[in-house]
Structure formats: structure tokens, C-alpha cells
């Protein structure tokens, strides 16, 4: 069921906003913390509801109609996410509790294969969720972590790539787009370098996922992780996508019901993908909700959404550049970044700035954004981050700029 797509000119954030119940509950809310969590459209909330009210059952093993319905719903959710990622094979989609769950799953599966002296390449821009699982793996196996440095404007610096991607490199795990700088990672050279030494590439897609469907094969990566709650879906769900041949080689690091062919007290024989990597009752209703979010996103005129977000981001950057004492973190080129902007206001602590915003109904985030190594790189305690989504509009930006003016008056 394809809706008639409004053309780019007709894209109306006010209409979109009406689809999000949170703005009916909080009509004054200026929600600019979309990198932390996006809001949820009614379509998604209702899809979860409907599933719980009409099709709730455990999956895969029941043969009564309700169990078949629930199994089918879960199965279709997987298909929908495969479509969203552009994966031909839906069994390459492993549902997890979120991006963090996905990366921990991969790290623990890799732990069996990797040996002391093997290397994993990360970057200094990574979110703790794409750093700590590898630190734990490193402690467990003796695998060495290496780090791609950053350019002065916070992009991953590819100049040392060939020095850092050694013969011992087994995995390159970097973010698809940063939750602090907004910088979108340049993939071409990275993937070429990794594949030239047979290392796999994992992208942390937590921030990218909300910006519409992907073409995972064209991207050329091997693993991809994302979270439902950052793409207008429910909390408690996310996924790990992986190339079938690689996923099949992973020994299941976690055990439970529904993932086995045969079990004795001594050992088990894992089932096929995707079940082998999804032990236990999965987040069924949340998968249905995430599929509804993906479907909702795919119905949108994403070109129009994109130009809307570029427009707002441009307005925001222009406005911020007018203030003395504001340092912007991240690429200056609008088209190398997502619609999120981190800033440092001289002599003002991010929390104090965020408080001034909060008092005016503006929701932004101040702090280290779970990226302490990056903060250290910039020599900052934290930043104040403004992150946009499609329901934001010019009045949100203008209110924010006005609040900064007031903050400078009050705080400095």
C-alpha cells in the first residue's frame, strides 16, 4: 500500500508532527534531542498495541492459529527490516535489544575466534557502545585495539589507514555517523583497506538508521548495528545485520530456547540462521513495532525530508556562527554531516546551557554523549548537542538561538 507521496515543496513538518502523540501531550515541547531517542509516531505505537491485543503468543513452536499469527508477524517484521536495509536474505537480520546488544553479540561471538595479537581497528569518535565491548573482548583474548585518529573537525582521519590496517587486523568497527560531531564516515577507503587484509567491517548505524532505508550491499560493509528507539521505533529492540557467510561462521555466544537442533546435557547443535543467534523469546511486539517504523519511514518522501533537515541545519549553523564565543564541533561542510550540531559555549557548562533551554521548553542534551575519548580529543568536558528530526521546524531553531542569546546574558 503505497501512499501518494507529497512532493518536496509540499513537505510539511506541521503535518508530520501531528502523527506524533508526544506533541499533543506537550504542545510547547521543542524536542531537539533526537540523537538520544526519536519520538514515536502513532502508527508504531498502534502496531505494537494491535499485536498485543490480537496476535500475542510465543513464536515458532505453537501450531494453533494465534501462535502461527505471531510467528508470521515476527517473520514479516524481519522481512521488513531486511527490505529497509536492502538485504536480499532476511535471515541475515538478527534481532537484538538494541545497537549495544548487537555489538556485544558480535564481540562475544568473535571472542571465540580471535587470538592474542589479532587486531581490531576502531576510531576515536566511537560511542562507548562501540568501544567498551571491544575493550572487554581485548581483556578476554589479548586482542589489540587500534584507533583511527580524527581530523581537527572531528572526522575519521583516513591518512593513517594503511599503517593501522595491518595483516593482523580482523575487524574494523566504526560508526556510520557520529552522535557528537554528526560527521558521516567516508566508507570507500576504509572498506577497501579492511577487505584487502580480509578484515570484516562493522558499522555502528545507530545515528544513521533514522535517515531512511539503506542499500547495505552497495555500502559494502559486513556487519551493521542499529536501535529501534533511534528510528521512530520502540525501545527494547535493535538488530545486527551480517553477511550470511560471516554470520554462519560465528559460534553462538549466548544460549537459550529456540536456537538449537539438538541438545544433550553436554552439548548442543545450533539451528540455522537467524535462530541460532536469537536465544530465548525475542522482543516480538517490539520487532513488529520496529517494522512499522521502517514501513512508515519508507512511505515518506525522504528526499523532501532530507532537504528540510539540511535547510534547518543550515539555519542553525548560520545562527550559531553569529554568536561570539561559540565553537562548533564537527565538519563545517553541511553535506558531510547529519542534522545534529554539537557546540561549546565559552565559559558556560553544557548543563547550565541545557538548563536554560529546558526552562524554555527546549530539549537538548549536554554532556560527554558517551564519547569520552572524543571529548578528550577536543579537550572538552562536554558539549551541548542539538539534534533534529523531521518534525522540527524553523521556530524550533529560532527559539533555540534566542535562548542562547539569553544564556549568554545570564551565565557569562
Amino acid at each position: 500500500m503505497q501512499m501518494t507521496k507529497p512532493d518536496a515543496m509540499a513537505f510539511d513538518p506541521a503535518e508530520i508532527k501531528k502523527l506524533f502523540p508526544i506533541f499533543s501531550s506537550h504542545p510547547q515541547l521543542r524536542y531537539l534531542d533526537n540523537a538520544a531517542t526519536t519520538q514515536c509516531p502513532a502508527a508504531v505505537i498502534q502496531a505494537v498495541d494491535l499485536h498485543e491485543c490480537q496476535s500475542r503468543a510465543n513464536i515458532s513452536r505453537g501450531i494453533y492459529p494465534l501462535a502461527e499469527e505471531a510467528t508470521e508477524a515476527y517473520h514479516q517484521a524481519r522481512n521488513m527490516l531486511a527490505q529497509y536495509l536492502g538485504a536480499q536474505d532476511a535471515s541475515e537480520i538478527i534481532f537484538t535489544s538494541g545497537t549495544t546488544g548487537a555489538i556485544n553479540l558480535l564481540a562475544n561471538a568473535y571472542a571465540v575466534d580471535l587470538k592474542e595479537g589479532d587486531e581490531i581497528l576502531l576510531s576515536l569518535v566511537e560511542h562507548h557502545s562501540n568501544l567498551l565491548p571491544w575493550q572487554i573482548l581485548s581483556r578476554r583474548t589479548g586482542v589489540k585495539l587500534r584507533f583511527l585518529p580524527l581530523t581537527a573537525d572531528g572526522r575519521i582521519d583516513m591518512r593513517s589507514l594503511h599503517r593501522l590496517v595491518t595483516e593482523r587486523c580482523r575487524l574494523v568497527a566504526v560508526t556510520h555517523a557520529s552522535n557528537v560531531t554528526g560527521a558521516v564516515t567516508e566508507l570507500g577507503p576504509l572498506i577497501d583497506a579492511a577487505h584487502s587484509v580480509d578484515a570484516a567491517v562493522l558499522l555502528d548505524g545507530a545515528q544513521m538508521a533514522q535517515h531512511g532505508p539503506l542499500d547495505i550491499n552497495a555500502l559494502g560493509v559486513d556487519f551493521y548495528a542499529l536501535s529501534g528507539h533511534k528510528m521512530f521505533g520502540p525501545t527494547g529492540i535493535g538488530l545486527l545485520w551480517g553477511r550470511r557467510d560471516l554470520l554462519e561462521k560465528l559460534a553462538p555466544p549466548f544460549g537459550g530456547g529456540g536456537m538449537v537442533h539438538r541438545v544433550t546435557i553436554d552439548s548442543f547443535e545450533p539451528a540455522e540462521l537467524p535462530a541460532r543467534l536469537e536465544p530465548g523469546t525475542p522482543p516480538i511486539a517490539q520487532a513488529v513495532g520496529l517494522a512499522a517504523a521502517a514501513a512508515w519511514l519508507m512511505e515518506l518522501d525522504l528526499k523532501a525530508v532530507e532537504s528540510h533537515l539540511y535547510h534547518l541545519t543550515g539555519r542553525l549553523l548560520d545562527g550559531l556562527n553569529n554568536f561570539p564565543g561559540i565553537k562548533l564541533i564537527g565538519p563545517s561542510d553541511l553535506y558531510q554531516r547529519l542534522s545534529l550540531v554539537s557546540l561549546d559555549l565559552a565559559k558556560v557548562h553544557p548543563h547550565d546551557l541545557s538548563q536554560i533551554f529546558a526552562d524554555r521548553g527546549i530539549a537538548v542534551r549536554g554532556g560527554h554523549h558517551c564519547a569520552e575519548p572524543l571529548m578528550r580529543f577536543f579537550g572538552l568536558m562536554g558539549t551541548t548537542r542539538v539534534s533534529l528530526a523531521l518534525y522540527n521546524d524553523e521556530t524550533d531553531i529560532d527559539a533555540l538561538l534566542l535562548a542562547i542569546e539569553e544564556a549568554q546574558r545570564i551565565l557569562i
Partner: protein, 129 residues
């Protein structure tokens, strides 16, 4: 039901050319197929042992009844026909496999497809067709 109750071809072969054991992970059912074929590609002998439900036993029985004497290439067709029957509800068209239509009532009961298919999967795996 008759097929399930009086299994045809139940047992073991003395000198099977191939033997495959297949499990249904969802219910723990198990099928063992032993089979022999000649150099002209004709299935000559077949035996099966089934620990499984009525549907699974019925397919095994049908295989025991209808596959000996058939060409291996025709058996590959049978599995395709059966899958289409289950998933789309389409009657088998190949004249050798009209008998498969006993499984028509299973169409729409997704959780049971694997029960019906398991013996066929074991067979085609044994034959490598």
C-alpha cells in the same frame, strides 16, 4: 490418515547407496531415509524410519509407495510440487505426483509445512538432486 497409520516402506535397507537423517528443530521429529538408485538414475529401493507426527509419517509413507521406480529428476520435481501445494495451495500438475494432493488441507497451516516436507527433504538430500 491411512498413509500415516500403515506406513509403506518403513524399515532399513541392507546396502543403502545413501542414508540421511534429518531433524525438525521445532518439534524434535526425526526422519531417516535410506535409498538406492541405479546408474540410469532410477530410484530402486527406499526405506524410512520416522519418529514424528501423522503428517510426517504420511509423507514418508507416500514416498515409500510412490518413489521406487521413478527417475531422480522426477523426484526433485515432486518436492517443488509439494512446496507449491503447501504454500500456494496449487494442485500438483505432474502426472506422477497427483497423490500429493492428499496434503492440500495443510495449505495455510504454516507451522505444519515442515512436518510434511521433512521426509522429502531427507530424500532429496540423500539423492543430492
Amino acid at each position: 490418515m491411512a498413509l500415516a497409520r500403515d506406513p509403506i516402506g518403513n524399515g532399513q535397507l541392507e546396502h543403502p547407496r545413501a542414508r540421511v537423517q534429518l531433524d525438525n528443530p521445532l518439534c524434535g521429529d526425526r526422519v531417516i531415509i535410506e535409498v538406492t538408485w541405479d546408474d540410469n538414475g532410477m530410484l530402486t529401493e527406499l526405506a524410512h524410519e520416522v519418529q514424528g507426527c501423522a503428517l510426517c509419517r504420511a509423507t514418508a509413507s507416500l514416498i515409500g509407495r510412490d518413489t521406487p521406480g521413478k527417475q531422480l529428476t522426477e523426484i526433485a520435481i515432486a518436492q517443488t510440487e509439494l512446496e507449491r501445494l503447501l504454500k500456494e495451495g496449487e494442485e500438483p500438475t505432474h502426472h506422477h505426483w497427483q497423490g500429493l494432493s492428499v496434503f492440500k488441507p495443510v495449505h495455510g497451516h504454516k507451522s505444519r509445512y515442515e512436518c510434511v516436507l521433512l521426509p522429502f527433504k531427507a530424500l532429496t538430500q540423500a539423492l543430492e538432486v
